[in-house]
C-alpha cells in the first residue's frame, strides 16, 4: 500500500486510533499503581510496563500525525472526550490488585491477537511500529500470565479474589474487540482476522484454555458489544479523567513545559 486512498487512510486512522487510545489509557492507569503493588519487585515491573504502553501510544499517535492528524501531545492534551476511542476497560478505575491483574492479562491476550491481525495490513509504517511493540509486549503477556497463574494457585484467599475479579472484569471486555470506526475500517483488507467476531473467538479460545489450566471457572464467551462501542460521548468519568490529566498543562496551554 504505497499510496493509500482516502478511504484507506480513514480506515487506517480508525484502526490505529483505537489501539493508541487503549495503550495510552492502560499506561496512564498503570502508572497509578506506582509504589502501590504488593512488593518492590512488582513496582519495578509494573512501572516499566506502563512506560512501554505510554511509549507505544506516542508511537501510534505519531503514525496518525503522518496521516494528517495533530501531533501526539495535542491528541492527548487537547482532544475532546467524544473523539477518544479506547475500550471502556482501559479507562475503568480499579483499586483491587486482583482485578487489575485479571484486566491486564485479558488486555494482553487481546492485544497480542490484535497486533497479529493488524500486521496483515500492507502499510509499512504500521508494520514497523507493530514489530517494535511486539518486542516489548511479548514480555507484558508473559508477566501477566505468570501473575494470573500465581494468584490462581496461591491458596484459597488469593483464588477467591481472582474468581471475584474475573466476574467483575468480564462484562467490561465487550468493546475491546470493536474498532470504533465504520466497518470499512477492517473489510478493506484481505484480513479476516481483523473482524471483531474473529478476534473475539481467538480471545475466547486462548483465555478459556488458560483458565481451565489454572482450574478457574471460565464465565463463557465475551458478549458482543453494542453500537456505541468505543464511543464516550455520554461518559461522565472520561471528562473528569481528561481534566485531571490536563490540569497542569492548561495553566499555560501554549507554554513551555
Amino acid at each position: 500500500m504505497k499510496h493509500p486512498t482516502t478511504i484507506q487512510i480513514t480506515a487506517l486512522k480508525s484502526l490505529i486510533l483505537a489501539m493508541a487510545d487503549d495503550e495510552w489509557m492502560m499506561g496512564d492507569r498503570g502508572a497509578t499503581w506506582l509504589a502501590l503493588t504488593p512488593d518492590l519487585e512488582e513496582d519495578l515491573a509494573m512501572s516499566s510496563i506502563s512506560q512501554d504502553e505510554i511509549g507505544h501510544a506516542a508511537l501510534l499517535y505519531t503514525l496518525l500525525e503522518e496521516l494528517g492528524e495533530p501531533g501526539a501531545d495535542t491528541m492527548v492534551y487537547e482532544r475532546g472526550p467524544e473523539n477518544w476511542h479506547h475500550a471502556v476497560i482501559a479507562q475503568h478505575p480499579t483499586h483491587s490488585w486482583a482485578e487489575w491483574v485479571v484486566r491486564r492479562y485479558c488486555y494482553e491476550v487481546f492485544d497480542d491477537i490484535r497486533r497479529k491481525a493488524l500486521a496483515r495490513i500492507p502499510y509499512p509504517p504500521l508494520i514497523a511500529s507493530l514489530k517494535k511493540m511486539d518486542a516489548e509486549e511479548s514480555y507484558h503477556l508473559l508477566h501477566f500470565r505468570s501473575l494470573m497463574s500465581m494468584l490462581a494457585r496461591g491458596g484459597p484467599l488469593s483464588r477467591s479474589y481472582v474468581d471475584t475479579a474475573i466476574l467483575a472484569d468480564w462484562p467490561l471486555l465487550a468493546d475491546l474487540f470493536e474498532w470504533g470506526g465504520r466497518d470499512e475500517a477492517w473489510v478493506l483488507w484481505d484480513a479476516g482476522q481483523l473482524a471483531p467476531s474473529a478476534m473475539r473467538s481467538a480471545f475466547d479460545l486462548v483465555v478459556q484454555r488458560d483458565l481451565i489450566a489454572w482450574e478457574l471457572e471460565w464465565p463463557g464467551p465475551v458478549r458482543v458489544a453494542d453500537r456505541a462501542a468505543r464511543h464516550h460521548d455520554n461518559s461522565k468519568t472520561l471528562p473528569e479523567l481528561l481534566q485531571h490529566m490536563r490540569e497542569v498543562r492548561h495553566i499555560a496551554l501554549a507554554g513551555n513545559w
Binding site: 497509578t32 509504589a35 512506560q51 513545559w257
Partner: protein
C-alpha cells in the same frame, strides 16, 4: 597485641574496604544497618510525593521521564534493602521486617518526604534540590568503608544525576514560562529551601553520625555537606531569576563559608522522629495500603512457589 576491634579500625584507616563476608564489630554492623535501611526506605518513600504528579504531567515526555525516575528511586530502595537484608540476616530479620519497620515507626525517612508537594513545580524542585542534595551526600558515601555500599552507590549516583538533570530541565522550563509558571516555581523553591537546610542534619552531629565518621562509613560532616549544597545552588537559583527565602544568606568573604538562617530544627526533628509532618500520615497510609493491604498477594506468591517445588512442576 591488638584486639580484633583495633585491628579492624586499623584496616579502615589504611583505606581498606570491608566486604559482606568479612568479620566486623557488632557496632559497625548496626551502624551500617541503620544507615542503609534508612537510605533504602527513604528512596521508597520518596516515590510518594512525585507519583501524585505522573498522571498530571504536562507533556508525554515529562510523564515518561517522571515515571522512569520514580522507577529508579524504587529500584534504589530495592537494591539498598537487599544490602540491609544481608546485614540483618544474622539477627534473623528479612525484607518483611525491614518494610514493617517504617510502618511501625522503627526506621526514619528523610524529612523532605514528609512534606507537601502541592504543584507541578514541586515535582521539578524535588528533582532539582532534593536529588541534587542527595547526590552531594551520596558522592561522599562513594568512599564508604563498606565496599558493597560504595559499589552500589556508583550506580545510584549515576542515576541520581539524571534525576537532577530532569529536575533542572523542569524548573528551567517553568522559569522561562509565563507569570503563573514562574510564581509556581518561586513558591516551590520557598517551600523546599528550609527543608533542604535541615536535610543534611544538625550543625553538631549526633553520636551515631560521629561513630559513622569514626568507622569511615561516611567521610564528611553535616555542615560540610550543607555548605557544598548552598555553594552549588545559590548561583543556580539566582540564575533562574528566583529568590532564596533567606534574607540573612551571605558568604563570608574571608572564609568562603555561607551564613544562613537555621531551619526550625525542633519542628523538622519532630517531623522525622514522630512521623509528624503534614503528609507523613498520608504517605505512610499509601505504604500500608501496598504492604499490609496486599500481603495476601505476597503470601499467594510464596504458596504457589512452594506448591510448584513440592510438585516439581511449573506454574
Amino acid at each position: 597485641m591488638k584486639n580484633s576491634l583495633e585491628a579492624f579500625v586499623d584496616r579502615i584507616e589504611l583505606g581498606e574496604k570491608v566486604e559482606a563476608t568479612d568479620w566486623m564489630p557488632d557496632e559497625y554492623r548496626m551502624l551500617l544497618i541503620k544507615q542503609i535501611h534508612m537510605h533504602g526506605i527513604s528512596e521508597v518513600m520518596g516515590a510518594y510525593p512525585e507519583r501524585e504528579w505522573v498522571s498530571r504531567a504536562p507533556t508525554i515526555q515529562r510523564k515518561l521521564a517522571l515515571n522512569a525516575k520514580i522507577q529508579d528511586e524504587i529500584g534504589h530502595g530495592q537494591m539498598l534493602l537487599r544490602l540491609a537484608e544481608d546485614l540483618s540476616s544474622v539477627y534473623g530479620r528479612g525484607r518483611e521486617d525491614l518494610m514493617n519497620d517504617v510502618l511501625e515507626g522503627r526506621v526514619k525517612f528523610h524529612n523532605v518526604f514528609h512534606l507537601e508537594a502541592p504543584t507541578w513545580a514541586d515535582a521539578g524542585v524535588i528533582g532539582f534540590l532534593v536529588d541534587g542534595g542527595a547526590i552531594i551526600t551520596q558522592a561522599m558515601l562513594l568512599n564508604s568503608s563498606y565496599a558493597p555500599y560504595a559499589r552500589m552507590l556508583k550506580r545510584i549516583v549515576a542515576e541520581e544525576s539524571f534525576h537532577m538533570q530532569l529536575g533542572e530541565s523542569e524548573v528551567l522550563a517553568l522559569a522561562s514560562g509565563n507569570d503563573a509558571q514562574r510564581q509556581m516555581l518561586q513558591e516551590a523553591i520557598s517551600r523546599w529551601w528550609p527543608a533542604m537546610m535541615f536535610f543534611f542534619g544538625p550543625r553538631t552531629m549526633g553520636p551515631s553520625a560521629q561513630r559513622m565518621m569514626y568507622f569511615r562509613i561516611r567521610t564528611l560532616d553535616n555542615e560540610e555537606l550543607r555548605q557544598r549544597f548552598i555553594n552549588r545552588y545559590v548561583p543556580r537559583i539566582r540564575a533562574l531569576g528566583m529568590t532564596i527565602p533567606d534574607s540573612d544568606l551571605r558568604q563570608d568573604p574571608s572564609s568562603g563559608r555561607w551564613i544562613y538562617t537555621d531551619p526550625d530544627w525542633d519542628w523538622f526533628s519532630r517531623v522525622v522522629h514522630n512521623n509528624d509532618g503534614p503528609m507523613s500520615g498520608a504517605r505512610l497510609a499509601l505504604r500500608r495500603q501496598a504492604h499490609d493491604g496486599l500481603s495476601w498477594a505476597r503470601q499467594a506468591n510464596l504458596y504457589a512457589t512452594s506448591e510448584q517445588s513440592r510438585q516439581g512442576g511449573v506454574l
